[in-house]
């Protein structure tokens, strides 16, 4: 996809602690994200998922603990590409100039960045909309544009913070399927945050269930689903079994 992105090795978060004054947000958090993996963090609101993202994106620092990235020295400035919950598209820029923001800020010429972006628009269902302003697009299209901006930033790890959280159920289902198909082509390591158990199972290779604040890992669940099989995945025996297991883990912590 576009210019080749340098890859990183395994990312390990070891015993991360974080508190805001009296509020303990992360307590001894341990995570592993393998190269090329789609890992989802699922947990109740306010459980510190966004804090983990902010620490990885370099917006905040952990109080203690260590983050190791094989082949990178942390804080790795060019490792993570962060997509906020709301699309954060700039209303004064058309879609094309919005999606090149990451490259532009890193000093890539606009012309070059635009050319690369135009080639990607069809895969994000945005072909023909490059000259439109964000306000002229539907919610689903805006999220896809925000994702394209994140992808075009050309960093190996994508941090997606509830990208479909604000969408209606139908658009949401469409985008889940679309991202599922796009995943292979993106060929990136993806760390994903959601509240939605089904969304996590549809997309992830592995799911971590977080406890309410202060967040720690309650369950680590590999997702071994045959997504290429016929019929609806969500009604297969294995899917329902995994869903039950995740829901039980969430309930055991009083999360739902």
């Amino acid at each position: 996809m576009g210019p080749e992105v340098t890859t990183q090795g395994r990312i390990t978060l070891n015993g991360i602690y974080k508190r805001y004054n009296d509020l303990e947000v992360l307590r001894d958090l341990n995570l592993v994200i393998n190269e090329g993996e789609f890992v989802t963090l699922i947990g109740p609101s306010g459980s510190g998922k966004s804090t983990i993202f902010n620490i990885l994106a370099g917006l905040e620092t952990a109080d203690s603990g260590e983050i190791k990235v094989e082949g990178f020295n942390f804080p790795p400035k060019k490792l993570f590409s962060y997509m906020p919950q709301r699309d954060s598209l700039l209303p004064w820029r058309n879609i094309l100039d919005n999606v090149i923001l990451g490259q532009e800020l890193q000093g890539v010429s606009k012309k070059q960045a635009r050319a690369a972006a135009l080639a990607e628009l069809p895969f994000f269902g945005l072909e023909g909309f490059e000259k439109n302003f964000p306000s002229e697009l539907s919610g689903g299209m805006r999220q896809r544009a925000a994702l394209l901006r994140t992808v075009l930033t050309q960093r190996p790890v994508l941090l997606l913070d509830e990208p479909f959280g604000a969408l209606d159920a139908i658009t949401r289902a469409q985008l889940q399927e679309w991202l599922g198909n796009l995943k292979q082509r993106l060929n990136r390591t993806i760390l994903f945050v959601t509240h939605d158990v089904e969304e996590a199972l549809l997309l992830s290779d592995r799911v971590y269930v977080l406890s309410p604040r202060p967040a720690r890992i309650v369950l680590e669940q590999p997702v071994d689903l045959d997504r290429s099989g016929p019929g609806e995945l969500v009604i297969t025996h294995r899917f329902i079994e995994l869903k039950a297991r995740l829901l039980t883990a969430l309930k055991s912590e009083g999360a739902i």
């Binding site: 902010n54 994106a57 370099g58 917006l59 400035k77 993570f80 590409s81 962060y82 906020p84 919950q85 709301r86 954060s88 700039l90 209303p91 004064w92 820029r93 923001l101 990451g102 532009e104 800020l105 890193q106 023909g128 909309f129 439109n132 302003f133 306000s135 002229e136 697009l137 539907s138 299209m141 930033t153």
Partner: protein
């Protein structure tokens, strides 16, 4: 045209009422001239009025431009430094309680009868709305988007030019539109207390020679000039921020215009 029609109709009605009152009440036109009398005076004295108008417009534009430049600079500084903002902002608000009419004669004593005190008066009335609009505008910048910029290692300079300034533009233009309507009236006020040329002193002289029709004519010219300047700013605003107006109009939703 739909937007222009209602106010135009209202103006027509009010002017008709004015003419009707003057015609039926028998009031002397030297006391209250009718609209026709005003137009007549405007046409007859157009040479003098236009000459004075140009002078006033020069003062207004110069004062406004300086207010815009310094006001913008101030807004950037106050945005950049919270300490400075806390120190200066209350003083700015307090400064607005000072009646300019009281200061204008002092400015004449200090700076003489030429153009400088008028420019200062215009600057004084235009400065405040521009600074306040700028500060509020910069502060309106979306926090999540700022974080996004930071996660992309954007420099302070990049965050200003590519995020904070465009975010503030709608606010800044609101401030400019308020300021520009004050600008001509400010210049006239500056001239009123002492000047050699300009509509302010023209009004003063017309009053002294009991030419109320000329006062009305000058007031009409000031109003029209202010409205035209306001429209000019609005046109510039439309050109600068096309996205803003498409957004306000609700925008064509995607799908209706797919190529």
């Amino acid at each position: 045209m739909k937007q222009i029609l209602p106010p135009l109709l209202l103006v027509l009605i009010l002017v008709s009422l004015w003419q009707l009152y003057v015609s039926w009440s028998g009031i002397r036109q030297t006391i209250l001239p009718g609209p026709f009398r005003v137009i007549e005076a405007l046409v007859n004295f157009w040479d003098v009025i236009s000459e004075n108008l140009i002078y006033t417009l020069v003062e207004a534009t110069l004062g406004f431009t300086i207010a815009l430049a310094i006001g913008f600079l101030f807004a950037v500084l106050l945005d950049y430094s919270p300490v400075l903002r806390r120190a200066v902002y209350p003083l700015l608000v307090a400064s607005q309680t000072i009646p300019i009419v009281a200061i204008a004669p002092l400015l004449i004593i200090w700076f003489g009868y030429d153009i400088v005190p008028k420019i200062i008066v215009v600057w004084l009335v235009c400065f405040f709305p521009i600074v306040v609009a700028g500060v509020d505008g910069f502060a309106s910048t979306d926090r999540d988007t700022t974080r996004l910029f930071k996660s992309l290692q954007a420099s302070t300079w990049q965050i200003f030019w590519k995020l904070r300034l465009p975010s503030a533009l709608p606010f800044i233009f609101s401030g400019i539109r308020i300021a520009i309507t004050y600008a001509v009236a400010g210049a006239v006020l500056g001239e009123y207390v002492g000047a050699e040329k300009g509509l302010g002193i023209f009004i003063q002289r017309s009053k002294n020679s009991f030419r109320n029709d000329l006062i009305f004519a000058a007031v009409l010219v000031i109003a029209v000039a202010s409205i035209l300047l306001f429209l000019l700013v609005t046109v510039i605003q439309h050109r600068t921020m096309p996205w803003y107006y498409r957004q306000q109009a609700g925008g064509k939703k995607a799908g209706n215009n797919k190529k």
